[in-house]
């Protein structure tokens, strides 16, 4: 080979080598070191950014997570699902159930220094009613607030509602003067899109859309800080694999979305802690009791007996959860004893024969984008095949799911969906999902039993908790007897963190969020 023909002469090669070593050197310089020790900083990875910072949308967990540290509520649930006062020091429901008198704590300041009074509570509740979206769904019977003085108020309802006080756990109190000044034409929704007007333990320092939210400790907070972080950063990382890598490299301290496959690796590593907590979430497969082949309860019973519940929890959930027991998640009060779902293929086949059913073909809609649902659907399909039932799986998006079940005529045979109760009360599940009044809503899957309707509606109105519980227990038994749904699993809420942070930071009443105030740094 003549040297003339060489494309790369030796001087070119030398230049290339120098250039590439410069590039490598530059990139090595920027390896990040972990958190600055002087300011106590906590970095969290979440997968889905909030659509807004407006607390009226806190029914959505991505919003709830970011508004929780920025605002206060009147009452709230703790990590053990016990309701206690926060801004409210005491409250009393009138005998007719139409009035709730409350006393507020004094000396609470908003982040801009203004004092929190009854006027702010009235403003916040009125705003929720006016906008009629988001958390308003669980506060539907709110009528008005009467201000007695700066720390005393009376909330008026249109009808007695046992769950109203519980639902207040998502009614965040806004700084009425600040929001009022920026109301614009939409009651401040656009303004609150990436701003805070609260009194909570943290202030919002910055928010880069869909990227990162930074919070700083509010030193004027009415509760005393001990070892909480001075600065909290939430980074939005959609992929679980990326969160895993960031956690391992030390760039983040806590990851909220680690896939089941990677958990074992972290469990075995002493530098990390896999923290789990019981939730009030439940996975269901609802069946169409009103039309189609599943109208026959015997067929529904057969289907319920076909699923391998134990395998679902062991293999699909990797043991991070338990088999569901009946329509109400076990962790919610008023749960009546109902045994675990158990697979019994021979009994299922017998039932199908008794119901005179051959070559049954069923369709199930589900959100296969969620891993547990995708694998559960496959497991069900396989199980049904072994009893001679052909199941077709149809992937839908969530809006499509809602749209299909909003009319009994378009509701398919089966639908797999999770329930995320907004607060730990039986009403949040049993009435929302099984009351026939909600047949044209987004939750009732073609189920209508007048006896159940009466039970849950009465229970919603009375305030005596033991009376309510007996009504709910009856309702649960009826729903189970109807074989309305397959009750699959109660997942655990799993986070993986390094050893610098501890605390009981999960509250079932605020699923998929973290209570910054309960997170302590070493």
């Amino acid at each position: 080979m003549h040297t003339r023909n060489l494309l790369l002469k030796s001087k070119h090669i030398r230049a290339l080598a120098i250039l590439s070593s410069c590039v490598v050197a530059l990139s090595l310089i920027s390896i990040s070191t972990s958190a600055n020790a002087a300011t106590k900083q906590l970095v969290i990875a979440d997968s889905e950014p909030p659509q807004t910072f407006d607390p009226v949308r806190a029914n959505n967990s991505t919003v709830d997570l970011v508004v929780q540290p920025l605002y206060d509520v009147l009452v709230d649930f703790d990590a053990k699902n016990k309701l206690g006062g926060r801004l409210a020091t005491s409250w009393k429901v009138s005998p007719d159930g139409l009035e709730i008198s409350m006393s507020l704590r004094s000396g609470v300041e908003f982040h801009d220094g203004k004092t929190l009074t009854s006027a702010d509570v009235k403003y916040s509740l009125d705003r929720i009613k006016k906008l009629n979206v988001g958390v308003a769904a669980s506060l539907a019977t709110y009528a008005s607030t009467k201000i007695v003085d700066d720390t005393k108020l009376i909330i008026n309802l249109t009808q007695p509602t046992a769950t109203f006080v519980s639902a207040l756990s998502r009614a965040y109190i806004l700084n009425s003067r600040l929001v009022g000044a920026n109301e614009g034409t939409d009651s401040g929704q656009a303004w609150l899109g990436n701003r805070a007007a609260g009194s909570g333990p943290y202030t919002l320092t910055s928010y880069t859309t869909n990227q990162e939210a930074t919070f700083a400790k509010n030193t004027n907070y009415w509760r005393n800080f001990t070892n909480q972080a001075d600065k909290v950063i939430i980074r939005y990382i959609p992929q679980g694999a990326t969160q895993r890598d960031l956690l391992k490299s030390g760039e983040i301290d806590l990851a909220m979305k680690i896939s089941t496959a990677d958990l074992n690796g972290f469990k075995a590593d002493s530098k990390f802690v896999v923290q789990d907590a019981d939730t009030i979430v439940q996975l269901y497969i609802h069946m169409n009791t009103m039309k189609g082949p599943l109208k026959d309860p015997k067929v529904r019973q057969a289907i319920s007996l076909a699923y391998d519940y134990a395998s679902h929890v062991k293999n699909i959930m990797g043991g991070n959860g338990a088999i569901a027991q009946g329509p109400l998640p076990k962790a919610i009060a008023c749960h009546v004893y109902i045994p675990d779902g158990v697979q019994n293929l021979s009994r299922a086949k017998t039932l199908l024969r008794q119901a005179n059913v051959k070559n049954l073909k069923l369709t199930m809609i589900y959100l296969s984008v969620i891993e547990e649902h995708a694998r559960g659907g496959l497991l069900l399909q396989s199980a049904l095949k072994s009893i001679g039932v052909d199941l077709q799986l149809v992937t839908v998006t969530y809006p499509e799911y809602v749209s299909q079940i909003s009319k009994p005529s378009t509701t398919p045979d089966m639908g797999m969906i999770s329930a995320f109760p907004a607060y730990p009360d039986a009403d949040a599940v049993l009435r929302i999902v099984y009351d026939s009044k909600n047949l044209s809503g987004g939750n009732n899957f073609a189920y209508s039993n007048p006896a159940v309707d009466t039970l849950v509606r009465n229970a919603a109105a009375i305030s005596d908790s033991s009376k309510r519980c007996s009504l709910y227990r009856d309702a649960q038994r009826l729903i189970v007897k109807d074989y309305a749904s397959l009750f699959l699993s109660n997942p655990k809420f799993i986070t993986v963190r390094n050893t610098t942070v501890t605390g009981d930071y999960y509250r079932a009443a605020h699923h998929n969020t973290l209570d910054f105030f309960s997170m302590m740094l070493k």
Binding site: G240, A241, S259, T260, A261, D262, N264, G265, S311, K314, N315, I316, S368, V369, E371, A374, R375, G377, L378, L379, Q381, S382, L393, V394, T395, V396, T397, P399, E400
Partner: protein
């Protein structure tokens, strides 16, 4: 268009490497056709106790997280993986050819209008359309095929139009016109065959492109859905196990990549064969 003697003489002009590519493409197609018959296991049988087994003599490529044999899934899935681009390209090429020819043979307003229509089609982001159609029709391989077919035809229309235009001005066409040969005969006998020769190249290369776009759509949930064993869907469902069960992602990934490469390289070889002015040095 397909001249036997021409084919055998062209085949001789190929290097061993290029011959290998063509053989590879044919093998993939054959596997897709006979796949389901030679698969050793049932690709849909879920056996959670056999989850994520590494490659062994019983499972040549191991099992996925639901205990299904990957080799069998690969063989079953070859059909949908290859049929999809076929559907897209057949539609896009036929519609595109018709429209492109019309545009080329009718210069002026018709041509301008058709070209602007093509512009709209090309400017419309394919991914958004695919997600939109996936939402509208329910996510599935079918919605992905329709979406891609709708965005692919303008490219063919433009290509065919320029090919036809190029040929129309050639001398032998002019002579035919002078000799009074009817227009339709000119189009079908002389213009189209010459123009379409170049299309084979484009279609082969497009097959590889469509395979990849569809596997990308599966990743965001707008393509084939479980329990489909379309290769892109296989890669997607294995993505959480890239470290613990790499074979669930690597095997279908290599299958996609290899198939796409084979089609691509064959297309390149076709291009060289087609244009005798391109001299090939055999080093």
């Amino acid at each position: 268009m397909l001249d036997k003697s021409k084919i055998s003489s062209q085949w001789g002009r190929l290097s061993w490497f290029e011959k290998g590519c063509f053989v590879g493409v044919i093998s993939v197609i054959v596997l897709a056709v006979v796949g389901p018959w030679i698969a050793p296991h049932d690709p849909y049988f879920v056996d959670l106790d056999k989850s994520l087994l590494p490659p062994s003599s019983e499972h040549w490529f191991g099992t996925d997280v639901d205990g299904r044999d990957i080799l069998s899934r690969l063989l079953f899935g070859a059909r949908s993986t290859l049929l999809a681009p076929l559907g897209v390209i057949v539609f896009a090429a036929s519609v595109g050819t018709v429209i492109g020819t019309i545009a080329a043979l009718n210069p002026g307003v018709v041509d301008e209008l058709i070209m602007r229509l093509c512009d709209v089609g090309l400017a419309f982001p394919a991914l958004v359309l695919s997600i939109g159609l996936a939402s509208a029709l329910g996510p599935s391989l079918r919605s992905a095929i329709i979406a891609l077919a709708l965005t692919w035809w303008p490219g063919y229309a433009r290509l065919v139009r320029s090919l036809v235009l190029e040929v129309t001005h050639k001398e032998f066409i002019e002579s035919a016109k002078v000799l009074g040969v009817p227009r339709r005969k000119i189009v079908f006998r002389h213009i189209l065959p010459n123009a379409l020769n170049a299309m084979y190249v484009q279609t082969t290369i497009d097959v590889s492109a469509v395979i990849l776009v569809i596997s990308g759509l599966s990743f965001i949930g707008a393509g084939a859905q479980p329990p489909s064993s379309e290769w892109g869907a296989m890669v997607t469902s294995g993505r959480d196990y890239m470290l613990t069960g790499w074979w669930t992602v690597v095997v279908p990934g290599i299958a996609i990549s290899l198939t796409a490469m084979l089609f691509n390289l064959s297309g390149d070889a076709l291009r060289v064969l087609n244009d005798p002015t391109l001299k090939q040095s055999r080093g």
